[in-house]
Amino acid sequence: MPLIPWLGLDHICFKVTLFSTEMRDKLRKWREDNFRNSEQIVDVGEELISEHGSKLGDDIWIIYEQVMIAALDCSRDDLALTCLQELRKQFPDSHRVKRLSGMRLEALERYDEANKHYDAILQEDPTNTAARKRKISILKAQGKSTEAIRELNEYLEQFVGDQEAWHELSELYINEHDYGKAAFCLEELMMTNPHNHLYCEQYAEVKYTQGGLENLELSRKYFAQALRLNNRNMRALFGLYMSASHIAASPKVSAKVKKDNMKYASWAASQINRAYKLAGRGTKENKCSVKAVEEMLESMQITMS
């Protein structure tokens, strides 16, 4: 995982006095939702372990794991090592713990040693997906995007249902400006997650970036779809406005297409205005944004007609 050792963010101002049950519940929720709020996890987890460790029963092991990973993310090697040592004592031959040892080595940028750990796991258990994914993360951390992409493609041939992997691959492709392949990954994700507005919206953004009339029309359709799934998605709303405006302004479209897209753009503009007026009420803060959006929409209207 890309770790930035310089950032000594070991304590944010997050002073919470919670009961141990509340702390436990928070950690569980963050675990289930897979949040990467590492600073908070370290804050809550460290206190829970040191003050209330005896009350946790068997839960303590999964908490050690969660806190250890968060500690690595915050450059808290002291805390990470403490958690790791407890886990090693309790589960001496575990692949799961070996993977955590590997992650600590990654955090210390000792990538060759980390890879040896993962290779050892894969020798004993070739289906261990966690170890394979860590190896790919190392490639990414080292800036070896091409290799990471290749390995991830190979991985997905075997584990075709791994959503997280498809999304990671789409991100890698976007960073390499390979929008066609990024779109393919997002199509996979949309197929298996038809109600996820974020995938639709990201797909639309990729299509828009690819450019050309056909891609713009696709992008407009998918921005609209994202809005149908979540009518508060502002990116989708702006995206609909921009794609429809560009299509309407194109000299290559028929009068009907032009008229239709002007209607979509106009609808989107009114929705945007409405959303910003609602947001602007009561708060002095974002008056700037409200005015900027108003003027922007006005100026774009002029260029369209």
Partner: protein, 205 residues
């Protein structure tokens, strides 16, 4: 090419932006409220994105909105900054060059600023920035001696202090604004706090 001056406010907000998203690539725009001609004075910045930097729609939208805001507030866009997620590589990405090119179309002396993550730890005493300028249609490294940060020690102290007290959590970039449009991407609150901490000599240019 001429001198570039970087104000306390611009530096601190860029720094806090990088601190808020240490695991992502981030970018933003550099603004100036000074009149054209002579040294380029970067008086402010607008943090833009922390995800999908190469994708076009939100970048276009942000550029347009910031442009409009600038004309309403007598400022202009004079440059672009970026910090890469991968700390070991602080060179400009293709998307950085593209956006900087666009800015240079409207402003000849535009600057491209890369934040060097590997030099942002507390023990580094020099500004962790690498600046590029446009010469013969290419972005080339700017002479370090032409880059000025007035009251650098104080600016550095302010940035560190605000990070320690968690102020970076209040920073709003354009991405954050789109998640919740009641949030202010001009960051007036942070501007006020920075002004309070800075001595008069370090104030707005």
């Amino acid at each position: 090419m001429g001198e570039v001056e970087l104000s306390c406010r611009a530096y601190v907000k860029m720094y806090l932006h990088a601190c808020l998203f240490p695991r992502c690539s981030i970018n933003g725009l550099l603004l100036s409220s000074s009149s054209a001609g002579g040294a380029v004075c970067v008086t402010d910045c607008v943090p833009l994105l922390h995800s999908h930097l190469p994708l076009a729609p939100i970048t276009q939208l942000a550029l347009t909105q910031v442009d409009v805001w600038c004309s309403q507030t007598q400022q202009r866009i004079v440059g672009y900054y970026q910090a890469n997620a991968c700390v070991s590589d602080s060179s400009p990405t293709p998307c950085a060059l593209k956006i900087a090119d666009k800015i240079a179309e409207q402003f000849d002396s535009a600057v491209l600023l890369m934040l060097d993550g590997s030099k942002m730890s507390p023990d580094y005493r020099v500004p962790p920035i690498v600046m590029y300028e446009r010469k013969d249609s290419r972005w080339t490294l700017k002479d370090k001696h032409m880059i000025m940060l007035r009251q650098w020690e104080e600016t550095r102290a302010i940035a560190g202090q605000m990070m320690e007290s968690g102020d970076h959590m209040q920073l709003v970039d354009f991405d954050t604004h789109l998640d919740d449009i009641t949030k202010d991407w001009t960051n007036q609150k942070l501007n006020t706090k920075i002004a309070e901490l800075a001595s008069p000599a370090n104030g707005n240019i």
